[in-house]
């Protein structure tokens, strides 16, 4: 007797890929192209490519011109984020054997090809603590901790990660933002842009829906004004115009360019997030507010406990795609002559030793951008199912 599982697969292949002549021809052509691309890529990555340009410039790509000897400031955040990733995966996701093998394979390639010395030690420690956190929080029952508490710890950990990083970057002399660079700068810009947007966006959305005209119209004006120009326009404004516009009081006109970029990103993402959240507010049935009113809840409690959670839940896919867009838009600060990831890549290929090595470098940064975006979109789809979207 034939194994049922193989039988099913064969059946599926026959039905979906070879059900008639036209389908079969298309399948063969598609398969041929896929194999061509796959082998081309495989051959390039493992045989033709010369990864030395990435290996030599690894520090530049990751940290830009971050002062040597100051890396310790980032180590706690790196380890903490690995721990939080481990805990989050164990709480909200499930790793099967295939995923674990794939993950190990990817990490092995990164370590074998790109990392060496001190960096490999630190990243190794971070990854190991992440794995430990995964294993430990998988067996949380043994420590008599409730799952809810574990979830709370993880969420607070994520919230505290950014402030912690900022504090560590500023204590004891600190590292000026002008020395931030590489993918680290992109991460910081995106984290601040997204966090600021999450805080101010819903407030703007509520303001735009407000009955008070003195709140409503400024919010509308702000949102429409910000959305009327592209992000790069605002960044240029921050670079060239803002210093002359701002008063010299408190040296406001001498604010560092990175901080100006952060302000622009927060302002920009707030406006877009506000409109997304407003869509969510409008999707709620009127009865929700009425039910809250009938119970005697005040305006604040209705908004905070009933309206906002549902409005945001309804727009998670659009929100996350805004976050992903913002993450990739952080490369635009390249226009402010900052060495973020793309700037660092361009600096790397400009070195005389590595003329003509663009493909290696850009492939490397493409994978980094893809990895972060992919993680965000996975979180989004996890949140959608977790929060039970659609099963009201």
């Amino acid at each position: 007797m034939i194994n049922i599982k193989t039988n099913n697969i064969l059946f599926w292949i026959k039905n979906n890929l070879f059900n008639d002549l036209k389908g079969s021809i298309l399948t063969v052509i598609g398969l041929y192209i896929a194999i061509l691309i796959f082998f081309g890529l495989f051959k390039f990555i493992f045989i033709n490519a010369d990864w030395e340009v990435v290996i030599v410039n690894f520090r530049l790509l990751i940290l830009g011109r971050f002062p040597i000897g100051q890396e310790w400031r980032l180590i706690p955040s790196l380890i903490l984020s690995c721990i939080l990733i481990g805990m989050s995966i164990s709480i909200w996701s499930k790793l099967n054997l295939i995923k674990i093998i794939l993950l190990i394979l990817i990490l092995y390639i990164i370590f074998a090809v790109f990392l060496s010395g001190f960096a490999s030690l630190i990243i190794g420690i971070a990854i190991i603590s992440g794995c430990l956190a995964y294993v430990l929080s998988n067996s949380y029952v043994l420590f008599k901790i409730k799952l809810n508490l574990l979830k709370k710890i993880t969420i607070y950990g994520w919230i505290l990660l950014l402030p912690l990083t900022l504090i560590l970057l500023n204590i004891n002399g600190g590292v000026g933002t002008e020395r931030w660079g590489g993918v680290f700068l992109n991460i910081m810009l995106a984290a601040i842009g997204i966090s600021g947007g999450i805080i101010f966006g819903p407030l703007l959305a509520l303001g735009r829906n407000s009955n008070f005209k003195s709140i409503k119209y400024p919010c509308i004006a702000y949102i429409e004004f910000i959305r009327a120009a592209p992000l790069i326009g605002w960044l240029f404004l921050a670079r060239f115009v803002l210093p002359t516009l701002l008063p010299s009081l408190f040296e406001l006109n001498k604010i560092d360019i990175v901080i100006r970029a952060m302000i622009v990103l927060v302002g920009f993402s707030s406006a877009y997030i506000a409109e997304i959240v407003r869509g969510g507010l409008q999707s709620l049935p009127k009865g929700q507010r009425e039910a809250g009113m009938a119970l005697g809840l005040n305006e604040f409690n209705i908004t905070w406990f009933i309206i906002i959670p549902q409005a945001i839940r309804a727009v998670i896919p659009a929100l996350v795609s805004q976050f992903i867009a913002l993450w990739k838009d952080t490369t635009l600060v390249y226009a402010l002559s900052l060495t973020e990831l793309l700037g660092a890549a361009n600096a790397a290929v400009a070195q005389p030793d590595f003329v003509g090595k663009q493909i290696e470098v850009f492939l490397f940064i493409a994978v980094i951008f893809w990895a972060f975006s992919y993680i965000m979109s996975r979180i989004s789809s996890k949140m959608e199912t977790r929060l039970g979207l659609g099963k009201w």
């Binding site: 009938a294 119970l295 005697g296 809840l297 406990f305 959670p309 549902q310 839940r313 039970g388 099963k391």
Partner: protein, 256 residues
């Protein structure tokens, strides 16, 4: 005082808890309420019926100011309801409301749906409010559903949770706005049973419904609404057996 022949509950006092005088309400050019004058005693159960668009729902929604009325006066428990009401939230927590569409909070568990308002309005602790919630769930017969989300319950169960949620504020008056109209027939009974129990416990209730069997069992008084006016009111015997008005007769002949 109205004497009830079909249950042994008695209206304990003669205190009028709701007094409405000439209540009018417009939606633009359309006048939804054309001068409603009536009063409701403490412990009384009143059933309001009438054709759709007759202003029944609008009327009971003016009683907790979900719809502000434009003219006339409404007094609840001695307090005049208008824009000057000092503590609208407190007034509303004294007047529970159950909606046709349940309006449960879909993102909260049944337990949290019920315990949210006591926590935020009455400042009960989490433990106290959840204890209260379990008590009420017991009363409406679904304590085992406490940790589920509204979307996982049947319509009848959802409406029973909505009743428990309104009761959690320990209101003096309960308003029911067509509580069984959105339910499948087999679920209507379970909701009406809960409401019957509540009526017999002495709660002041105003119910907009066409469930006349339920009405005949528990209502002290029926009010027939048409075109924004009270056409006729009285006990079951008066309204069903000897309706005075032609319009009442016509409507009753259509629904009975």
């Amino acid at each position: 005082m109205v004497n009830k022949d079909n249950n042994n509950k008695n209206i304990t006092t003669n205190k009028k808890i709701i007094i409405c005088e000439n209540v009018e309400k417009w939606y633009g050019q359309f006048q939804a309420l054309k001068g409603i004058t009536t009063s409701i005693k403490e412990g009384e159960v009143v059933v309001i019926f009438g054709p759709s668009g007759s202003g029944k729902s609008t009327f009971i929604r003016t009683l907790n100011r979900l719809e502000p009325h434009d003219k006339g006066s409404i007094k609840i428990d001695g307090i005049e309801i208008n824009d000057d009401v000092e503590d609208l939230e407190k007034l509303r927590s004294n007047v529970g409301m159950v909606f046709q569409q349940f309006n449960l909070f879909p993102h909260l568990t049944v337990l949290k749906n019920i315990s949210l308002a006591p926590q935020k309005v009455k400042n009960l602790s989490k433990k106290e409010s959840e204890g209260l919630a379990f008590e009420l769930l017991e009363r409406v017969g679904i304590p085992e559903q406490a940790y589920k989300f509204p979307g996982q319950l049947s319509g009848g169960q959802q409406q029973r949770v909505a009743i428990a949620r309104a009761l959690a504020m320990q209101p003096k008056i309960m308003l029911f706005d067509e509580p069984t109209s959105a339910l499948d027939p087999e679920m209507i009974k379970e909701v009406l049973e809960v409401m019957t129990k509540l009526a017999k416990s002495g709660m002041t209730m105003i119910v907009v419904t066409h469930e006349m069997g339920f009405g005949k069992e528990v209502a002290d008084r029926f009010i027939f609404f048409d075109e924004g006016l009270i056409v006729e009111e009285g006990t079951a015997k008066q309204v069903f057996n000897n309706p005075k008005e032609e319009r009442t007769k016509l409507f009753l002949s259509q629904i009975l």
